[in-house]
């Protein structure tokens, strides 16, 4: 029996050989021209390499600040901030319900005092910062603007991204707070605010990565993400205050690259083409930048395995190369020990070196879209585009993304795919080296889990208590009251209120509580 599967991971059939008749005869256009199949920029990586952006953050703001400075010193060209789950879900570090979660999967940020330490000595006018933050994204944006002001950096010079994509939180990642309607309003506020005041900042990074990690295949990942993008654009356009060209250039995307090499390349090429068509045809965009599908990616996640874990280094390297051949703008390469623990300095440095070798030694950056015109890659790009279109049509038939989430369609789609993949793995139909083939009896590596110790906890709680004691109580009450007022009317943009709250050293939990009282909380549908 051949061990080679004749379909891609998304189930697209693959022929033995491809020729000139197998792809769309209309051709693929030029790089830097709509629909951007061959990439967003005419000069590709010759003009600007992708950003090396390693996701990092743990413990206290001091420790994360040290790690950021280390990574920048090693040649990282952007920061990617991991926040702890309480910060992501809107709880303060002194909330007894979440005591075991403080500082565990990211850094704890309760108030501006933490954010000041986090970026201490890091010039915000010179580097860009990406935040994986969703439920509390507007608050984190307010914090970043406030830290910038403290450093004397004007808003117009701030660069970076807030993920700010709540829809996939409802189905796949779980850091929701409010129901869809007020959440979409708040996202609209951030998009509007960035367009007006922080023009170099991506107000949203529509993320498929978490669908993928939850079990979606590559085609589903792209389709669900683009449908989310449509939902956000619809919501902003419906406010009637901006046209697509006012805000679409500040939308970015984010994905997982897994191991099916050519399918991943095709996924990104098809994604660019599909988004360009949507933005032009559905919204009538005039500015070519609006139709540009700029994306970041992460290599690793569910494509990495515990057994023979060193093999993960090879997987990440191939995934990184596929991402670059797909035209990525910003990349995070995960460390080999990701299935076990937060990365060590050694493992995260190695992961960064993987990108540097790719960029400077392999020659992949030398010419634009090196796979363009490959019979196979073009045929697969067409097939991927068609499959993405079918899945998006199913989502529209469900009444759009919000309905498809509330009725559990999206959650079921992903869970069923995850289950099918698991069965294929266990049946040996899908081969994973060291896991179901070429296995060995090898003990798991001796990695240290990251533990927030009692001293760090006390440090965090002390800073929070000090901040609460020394801040001006009257301003806290007033700014929170303004926030409450603003939340009651849809026609106000809440960003100025949030910035006032942040500058008054209100806590994340205090702001979230005010908004929860006005807006309620999301109720998870029963999907299984």
């Amino acid at each position: 029996m051949s061990l080679i599967r004749l379909t891609t991971d998304s189930g697209l059939p693959v022929a033995a050989v491809y020729g000139p008749d197998d792809s769309d005869p209309k051709g693929i256009g030029e790089p830097g021209e709509s629909p951007f199949t061959r990439g967003n920029f005419p000069g590709g990586y010759r003009d600007k390499l992708w950003t090396f952006r390693q996701y990092s953050g743990f413990g206290t703001a001091e420790e994360s600040n040290q790690r950021y400075k280390y990574l920048l010193g090693q040649g990282s060209t952007g920061l990617s901030v991991a926040l702890d789950l309480p910060t992501q879900c809107g709880y303060d570090s002194d909330d007894p319900d979440i005591e075991e979660e403080i500082g565990r999967v990211g850094v704890a940020v309760d108030t501006l005092a933490d954010a000041e330490v986090l970026f201490d000595g890091i010039p915000l006018d010179q580097i860009s910062t990406s935040f994986t933050i969703n439920g509390t994204a507007a608050i984190v944006l307010a914090l970043y603007v406030a830290v910038g002001e403290k450093q004397g950096v004007p808003r117009a010079k701030l660069r970076g991204t807030i993920q700010n994509d709540i829809l996939k939180e409802y189905t796949s990642r779980g850091t929701w707070i409010w129901p869809p309607t007020p959440s979409l309003r708040l996202i609209g506020d951030t998009i509007e605010f960035c367009a007006a005041e922080v023009p170099r900042f991506n107000a949203i990074s529509v993320a498929g990565a978490h669908f993928r990690d939850a079990g979606a295949n590559a085609a589903q990942e792209m389709a669900l993400t683009l449908q989310d993008g449509v939902t956000y654009c619809d919501a902003v356009v419906a406010r009637g205050r901006m046209t697509i060209d006012d805000f679409a250039p500040q939308i970015s995307f984010f994905f997982y690259t897994h191991g099916d090499f050519f399918e991943e390349v095709a996924k990104y090429r098809a994604g660019r083409r599909t988004w360009a068509r949507i933005v032009s045809e559905r919204y009538g965009a005039k500015n070519p930048k609006s139709a540009m599908f700029r994306f970041g990616c992460v290599c690793g996640g569910a494509s990495l395995y515990g057994p023979q874990a060193q093999n993960n280094r090879v997987r990440v390297a191939y995934e990184a190369m596929a991402s670059v051949l797909g035209g990525v703008q910003s990349m995070f390469t995960a460390a080999w020990d990701e299935p076990f623990a937060l990365p060590t300095e050694e493992s995260t440095t190695f992961a960064l070196r993987t990108q540097q070798i790719l960029a400077y030694e392999t020659g992949v950056a030398r010419t634009v879209d090196p796979l363009g015109g490959s019979y196979y890659v073009e045929a697969l790009t067409d097939a991927m585009e068609a499959r993405i279109g079918e899945i998006m049509a199913e989502l529209e038939a469900q009444g759009g993304m919000v309905n498809a989430i509330e009725n559990g369609h999206v959650q079921r789609l992903i869970a069923e795919q995850a289950y099918a993949d698991q069965l294929a793995l266990e049946a040996g139909e899908r081969i994973v080296v060291g896991v179901n083939r070429f296995t060995s009896e090898e003990p798991p590596p001796d990695t240290e889990g990251y533990e927030f110790n009692a001293e760090q906890r006390r440090h965090q709680l002390d800073r929070l208590a000090d901040t609460k004691r020394t801040r001006e109580a009257r301003r806290v009450v007033e700014t929170l009251r303004e926030l409450e007022q603003g939340a009651r009317t849809d026609d106000r943009n809440l960003m100025p209120e949030l910035i006032d709250c942040v500058q008054a050293y209100c806590t994340v939990g205090e702001m979230v509580t005010v908004l929860k009282n006005e807006w309620g909380e999301f109720v998870q549908p029963r999907v299984l």
């Binding site: 319900d97 075991e100 565990r104 939850a214």
Partner: protein
């Protein structure tokens, strides 16, 4: 009557691919499965376990906070007079944490990489052991 299992996700971690996968797999294997959804308080999971009269509680935890959350869930079960319901734990569990989890009262640990047949077999064993003192056993 099929055995009833509650799959719970305590804590703030929202990654529930494993919890859902296990729920579907156990259902396919003939169990009746109730999945709590994510971000549940340990006390709420315990209340649900009592209310639903389940035979086993399975906790799925990937954030690293497994020892504390397991202990809290088991304490909450005991506080409700349901300390006899066996609790098993799944997720990213380093082998050095298996003993602390057992010390906290967990009867089995299914870490990442467990196959579906092993999981199903493990669940039957857990139930068989917990039913030794309960006669007549469920069919």
């Amino acid at each position: 009557m099929p055995y009833r299992i509650l799959i719970g996700k305590p804590g703030l971690d929202g990654h529930d691919r494993g919890a859902k996968l296990v729920s579907i797999a156990l259902r396919d294997a003939g169990f009746e499965v109730i999945y709590t959804g994510i971000r549940q308080r340990p006390a709420d999971i315990a209340s649900m376990a009592v209310q639903e009269d389940v035979d086993v509680v399975g906790l799925s935890i990937l954030s690293g906070a497994h020892v504390s959350l397991t202990r809290k869930t088991i304490d909450a079960l005991r506080a409700r007079g349901a300390g006899d319901i066996p609790v098993v734990v799944g997720g990213t569990i380093p082998s050095r944490d298996e003993q602390p989890l057992r010390d906290a009262g967990a009867v089995a640990v299914f870490s990442t990489g467990t196959t579906i047949p092993d999981l199903v077999r493990g669940m039957h064993e857990v139930i068989a052991r917990s039913n030794v003192s309960e006669l007549p056993a469920k069919a």
